[in-house]
Symmetry: C2
Subunit: 350 residues, 2 copies
């Protein structure tokens, strides 16, 4: 059905070697005839056979927690745009924040890819052993790995970003602030938590432990955390959520509770949202260059694959930006008391 190099050779009256050389761009005597038969047969070299012989797959793996998270979708777009130029195919896999899935996914990639861009599920769980044994270059994206300082990485300045959020709230006069943190065993979870706390500490503000809710970066946990924060006897005047999905969950909870932002409560999230500007109030956020993170990761990976990378690992850290829109203002005197328990609904978001 599909022509092989042997078919071309036979029809053109040369050896497969000659056809192969023609394909590789070397000059051969019968170039015209060979090219003609290639075209009549509509021959394309079998990539699988090529890969087996050469050990190069012209594919890479992109392993993220969840493509339907707009941040990772943007990353995927960045990765894909560079890899298309390099004529590399991209295997996309979701781990759903699970280390078991991550392990299965990475194992399934061994031998099928020339490199991997990985957003690890947990800092402590290093599932890269098999890839490393197979000499597959890895670039870490957005999250680090405990023992992975020898791997290239593209992060953002999470401590700095979280500090920007804290300072913004502090400067408005907030002292009693709810923190919806990500898991502390992920890089951004830990760093945003620590960065936020450090900035508060530097201003002499100590956060009551009940004001810190540890979520899992998913929407539902932002929703639940917000309900908890607002059910406390002494209310918070502001909330910071450590990623986009938890921000959406938090906003849903506030919406269901009927709490007006920023009149009753100030809110700021990490990661911009496509519609952030169109919400009312427009959402203030810590933004960061998501597509660029993907682009840079792919460039680092390319260098490693081509063996052109410097021997020691490269660590790129991109800056965040505080976008002040309209969801934060000084705490109102009237909002010092707790939200009445009667306003807390039963059920879940959506």
């Amino acid at each position: 059905m599909v022509a092989t190099i042997g078919d071309v050779a036979r029809l053109a009256g040369v050896s497969t070697t000659t056809v192969s050389r023609h394909l590789a761009g070397q000059r051969i005597r019968e170039a015209a005839a060979v090219q003609a038969t290639i075209e009549t047969l509509d021959f394309r070299a079998n990539e699988v056979a090529r890969s087996l012989k050469s050990g190069v797959t012209r594919s890479i793996g992109l392993v993220v927690p969840d493509v339907s998270n707009p941040f990772f979708a943007a990353v995927a777009k960045g990765v894909e745009s560079v890899s298309r130029q390099l004529e590399l195919n991209v295997f996309l896999s979701n781990t759903d924040e699970s280390v078991e899935r991550e392990r299965a996914v990475l194992q399934g990639l061994v031998g099928r890819v020339d490199g991997v861009i990985l957003v690890p599920a947990r800092e402590e769980t290093d599932n890269t052993a098999e890839l490393r044994r197979a000499n597959v270059p890895i670039v870490l994206l957005d999250r680090r790995l405990r023992g992975g300082n020898d791997l290239d990485s593209v992060l953002v300045d999470s401590p700095g970003g979280a500090a920007q959020a804290a300072e913004h709230l502090l400067s408005l006069g907030h002292r009693r602030i709810g923190l919806i943190s990500g898991p502390l065993d992920t890089t951004p979870g830990r760093e945003r938590h620590d960065g936020f706390m450090a900035a508060l500490g530097a201003a002499g503000v100590e956060l009551d432990p009940t004001l810190i809710r540890i979520g899992d970066f998913k929407l539902e946990s932002g929703y639940q955390a917000t309900l908890r924060l607002l059910g406390l006897p002494s209310a918070v005047t502001a909330i910071f959520a450590a990623n986009n999905l938890m921000s959406i969950g938090a906003l849903r909870a506030l919406h269901h509770l009927g709490i007006r932002v920023p009149d009753e409560l100030s809110f700021i999230g990490f990661d911009d949202l496509e519609l952030a500007e169109l919400l009312s109030p427009p959402l203030s956020v810590i933004s960061r260059p998501a597509v660029e993170q993907g682009v840079l990761a792919m460039r680092l990976l390319r260098n490693r694959i081509e063996g052109a990378g410097s021997p020691k690992a490269q660590h790129i850290v991109l800056e965040t930006r505080l976008l002040v829109r309209g969801s934060c203002r000084p705490p109102q005197p009237s909002s010092d008391g707790a939200i009445p328990a009667t306003r807390i609904p039963i059920g879940n978001p959506s």
Copy 2:
């Protein structure tokens, strides 16, 4: 560096054939010893070699216009969740709505995948010839192909959805409605346009051609279309946008113009948005099961790959749902006149 089946055979004192049989689950005499050496060597069969021999790649291609569009991100998630269960790897590619990119992408997939899920850029441009020649099963997602009725497809009832939108606006009393359509040479573009117009026609409403703006499904075109619609001498009282990105663009334009929805203008869009409920007003939309579209497409593809599909093509059409939230209301007498030109700003969104 990485062990081969030969290494295992040598160490276990058997032939490669025997090891291969063990891998395939047949019973062999030295099963225990072979298994032991496999584990000490940490051997995993080379997938590329397997593919070459068997002609099966255990991979599929997913070709969409743009993963960063939340709809396609949801589709990708659905596809990926099924394919993980089937232990298939997914190649993800973006075409950016370009037929040239699509052609390049599809060619690059020949020989590397067992099947393809494709969202074609244009109905008229069939780039599947090479895949078909190579007997690669194809499932069309969300869009059809002119000559592709022999291919399985998973669509939504776009005419019906657009009609729901039209009827909703009509029932509220709107007669002068702006339509931001997608490209007419894509299935959803054409079908939503036609469905919308048909429903209006059935109610005796003829739309002035100047009220129909043909966009390209991208954000910027929704923004520009909205500016044009609102610059008309006789203003529209409602706008329908045919997809999510153009809706966002339109909302940005309305926001920049300072036009209050639904007081001055009603708005309804095709495709739900994660934050639609949190906008003010909450956005009324035509929603549809995006993840499920991906799931069903992957199931159809699986059947084809396993040769279990019925000989003739399967066409699945999912229903849309009108979600009435708060962005539509009867036209206000005061909004009959055109928006003063002075309120139209210069520049672009973002």
